[in-house]
């Protein structure tokens, strides 16, 4: 909003860096009046700026254009272009130098300009070009290698993808670009160097300053590295070592930057915990209720273990609930290959918290909230602004948490081409809906098996909610 309609204040703030230009313009303006008296054809050079100033810098017009038309105050200040500053000053200098037949006037003028503004643009904002694209050579090298690799590994043409397909199933890879420092309006040279070069990738930026990545407890994985197909970072041994440790392979190395590609792949066998009495009695038992497996639940877990007995499991993850840990233990007891595998309990895989409904039965819930349904009380998986009025964790929050757990904890530690067992909760279905963009995925049965594949930063759900008997048949 324009707070101060003051004409001179506006000029000083936005048009000139110092009073020298104002003085030069004002003096030229006055001298021009003298010349106009000799040649009325030039009168527009004075009258137009005056008319423009009266029209555009009066409070009514300023308020109207600023609110309705111009996106910012800066746009409004560009009305000063019609004050013809360079034109009036140059016309006056021309008249004086020609009239006096003194070309030294021009040299004198050039000296005046140097005195007014010695900060030439050249040292400040420009350097010698390294190429005709006028982005740095190292960025061009990174771009060329990136595009070559993308072209080699893609079987689609971005120009043939429809708008709907692009929204629902965009095949283009993600590039994570690390920056040492924030650069603001000027634009990160690498991030925008990639965006200016190609549309074949989607780009995300992450700020990791040197004092952070050089610290002892630095962990690159927490920056969502594993969700990306490519990683571009400064040529730092720490960043390179960690990226390679997490399954990235170097594609291009320049003195300044590195381009690495995600080469990791592994499979997750996700098993929902076995039945608990809470499931049987239709009680909402989330992360706030540590329900135990009942007899049926133990049998289900045993069947699941039997179905997975031939699967070579390298790592196991569960939530912090007893029901998932017990299920995992039973599965491992049946598994031929898993000797002394440690079960990793991570809170990121916990079930949602039902808030005030935690521990309540379904009938009690409907008595209190007759209109109860998940979307109304927990929000949708993509709605990050939803706040649950029952104090429950929202679906979006659960999805982000699980995604965080899978991408930032499980994936980095996964060994290449191995199988991981995760025992979790039914809320995992929301993450699956998020990945597949398929809202028809409903419900995960107790001890059902789902197979999720991770390949170079992308998740693919092979099958969902298979019963142990069917799984055994499928894999026999």
């Amino acid at each position: 909003m324009v707070k101060n309609m003051d004409f001179w204040n506006l000029l000083q703030i936005y048009t000139w860096k110092n009073g020298g230009w104002i003085m030069l313009y004002s003096i030229s303006f006055l001298i021009m009046i003298y010349y106009i008296s000799k040649n009325k054809q030039k009168s527009w050079m004075i009258s137009i700026p005056i008319i423009v100033a009266v029209i555009t810098f009066n409070p009514i017009f300023a308020k109207l254009t600023n609110i309705k038309i111009f996106p910012s105050y800066k746009e409004y200040s560009r009305m000063t272009w019609m004050l013809f500053i360079p034109i009036i000053i140059s016309a006056v200098i021309t008249e004086i130098s020609i009239k006096e037949n003194n070309k030294k006037i021009l040299i004198f003028f050039a000296v005046i300009l140097l005195l007014i503004d010695p900060t030439w643009s050249i040292p400040k904002l420009v350097v010698e070009p390294q190429n005709t694209s006028k982005i740095y050579d190292y960025i061009l090298d990174i771009n060329k290698s990136l595009v070559n690799d993308v072209d080699k590994n893609s079987n689609y043409s971005i120009s043939e993808i429809s708008r709907e397909d692009l929204l629902n199933n965009d095949p283009r890879p993600y590039v994570l670009v690390q920056s040492d420092s924030a650069v603001g309006h000027a634009g990160d040279p690498v991030f925008f160097g990639i965006r200016q070069y190609t549309s074949k990738v989607k780009v995300r930026q992450v700020l990791i300053p040197p004092d952070v990545y050089n610290s002892e407890d630095f962990n690159l994985a927490v920056y969502n590295l594993m969700s990306h197909q490519y990683f571009v970072c400064v040529n730092s041994p720490v960043l390179r070592q960690q990226a390679e440790q997490y399954g990235f392979e170097l594609i291009e190395e320049t003195e300044e930057y590195l381009l690495l590609k995600n080469k990791k792949s592994f499979s997750i066998y996700f098993v929902r915990h076995g039945q608990t009495n809470a499931n049987l009695e239709e009680i909402l038992a989330g992360s706030g209720t540590d329900a135990m497996l009942n007899d049926e639940g133990e049998l289900q877990a045993s069947n699941a273990g039997n179905a997975l007995k031939d699967v070579q499991i390298s790592q196991v993850y569960t939530s912090e609930s007893s029901r998932t840990q017990d299920t995992a233990n039973i599965i491992l007891n049946n598994n031929y290959s898993s000797y002394d595998i440690e079960i990793n309990k991570i809170s990121l895989l916990n079930d949602l918290n039902w808030g005030t409904l935690e521990g309540k039965s379904i009938s009690e819930v409907f008595n209190t909230y007759p209109d109860f349904n998940e979307d109304t009380y927990l929000g949708t998986i993509n709605d990050s602004t939803f706040v649950s009025n029952i104090g429950a964790e929202t679906k979006n929050n659960v999805v982000n948490r699980i995604n965080n757990g899978l991408c930032n904890v499980v994936a980095p530690k996964a060994l290449n081409d191995t199988n991981i067992l995760i025992v979790g909760h039914s809320s995992m279905q929301w993450w699956m809906q998020y990945i597949t963009k398929d809202n028809s995925i409903e419900g995960l049965d107790n001890a059902s098996i789902s197979l999720i594949e991770y390949n170079q930063g992308k998740w693919n759900i092979k099958y969902i909610n298979e019963q142990a008997e069917n799984f055994k048949v499928k894999n026999d």
Binding site: Y14, S47, P86, S133, R163, G187, S199
Partner: protein, 340 residues
């Protein structure tokens, strides 16, 4: 690159031949050069707005544009062949250049230096280029107008929309057209190929303005262009930044080409109908090159009209009529703005 050089040669030679052989062309040679760009941009603006609104393919828009432009060139070519006038170069001010060598050389030095600076130096800050060049890139790669978010390349959604001011700017898709037709990467087109052309056209526009100020005093006109170039070199503000460092941005097209051109056309003694058409086309190009053009053009035109009324102490009906025609592109802009 060869295609581009060939086309540039045609675009440079064509106005010279047109000016020589077609008597009806009253414009100075520099105005014809600028009008080449204005006409091309005007045709492209209409095509691109239609194709953008109906979400049609970019390559089809380019094909249509090429057909129309080739057709117009052929028409002009036929007029040239039918003209019995011999080619002459009377309008090249050779005598004046010989007479005012020092001033002419000074002018050439500053223009040459400006072009050299733009060609030889690169900016370390992308600034608005980080928005505009991805837009151009995305149009070519996706073969559609505005499919992707210019910042991160994600698909446009309801919550990830592109600003209307970009949707309603045909200048960037015009640069995409040039890049697409000649198979040259947008970075090279925008940062290396177009700047000298735009800078040359900008100085031509200032040259036309100098005609209004100094008429046939060519020594003064040369010096005026020299001092304009010198001033921009030292001014450390928005207009100078655009002109000296990022001349291919839409705002610079408005400031250094269309604003002086509008004043020239308004004050010139051209045939009334042609004058109105030229001014309307200039307004169209300014409005669809940058949002600032939408406001600056009518304000400037209104100011010119008021100035004329005050000087003549009367209101000219022709001016009122021409202002309505002048306003047509602006009405078109606002209609599109509301529709989108």
């Amino acid at each position: 690159m060869i295609k581009l050089i060939l086309l540039l040669s045609i675009l440079i030679l064509f106005p010279i031949i047109i000016k020589s052989k077609i008597e009806a062309i009253e414009l100075p040679i520099t105005a014809i050069y600028i009008m080449e760009l204005i006409v091309l941009l005007s045709i492209w603006t209409i095509i691109s707005m239609i194709f953008t609104y109906y979400d049609l393919q970019f390559n089809k828009a380019v094909k249509l544009f090429t057909i129309i432009v080739v057709f117009l060139f052929l028409l002009l070519f036929i007029m040239l062949i039918r003209s019995s006038k011999k080619i002459s170069f009377d309008y090249f001010i050779i005598d004046e250049i010989k007479k005012y060598k020092f001033e002419f050389v000074l002018m050439c030095i500053i223009i040459g230096y400006h072009i050299f600076r733009c060609l030889y130096f690169q900016t370390i800050a992308y600034s608005d280029s980080k928005t505009y060049i991805p837009i151009i890139n995305d149009i070519i790669d996706t073969n559609r107008f505005f499919l992707l978010n210019n910042s991160n390349g994600e698909a446009i959604t309801n919550s990830n929309v592109i600003s209307k001011k970009y949707l309603l700017s045909s200048w960037y898709s015009f640069e995409a057209t040039i890049s697409y037709i000649f198979g040259i990467h947008p970075l090279i087109v925008v940062n290396t190929i177009l700047p000298p052309i735009i800078i040359a056209l900008s100085y031509m526009s200032f040259w036309l303005l100098s005609e209004i100020i100094f008429e046939k005093e060519y020594n003064k006109r040369f010096i005026m262009l020299f001092t304009i170039g010198l001033i921009f070199q030292f001014m450390d503000n928005d207009p100078a930044m655009y002109f000296m460092i990022w001349p291919t941005w839409g705002k610079n097209i408005v400031m250094s080409i269309t604003l002086p051109l509008l004043i020239y056309f308004y004050k010139s003694n051209l045939n009334y109908i042609r004058k109105v058409i030229y001014m309307a086309l200039t307004c169209l190009v300014a409005s669809f090159s940058s949002t600032i053009g939408v406001i600056i053009m009518p304000v400037l035109y209104m100011s010119l009209m008021i100035d004329k009324c005050i000087n003549n102490k009367s209101i000219n009906i022709k001016d009122v009529v021409s202002s309505m025609i002048f306003g047509v592109p602006l009405i078109g802009y606002f209609c599109l703005y509301m529709l989108w």
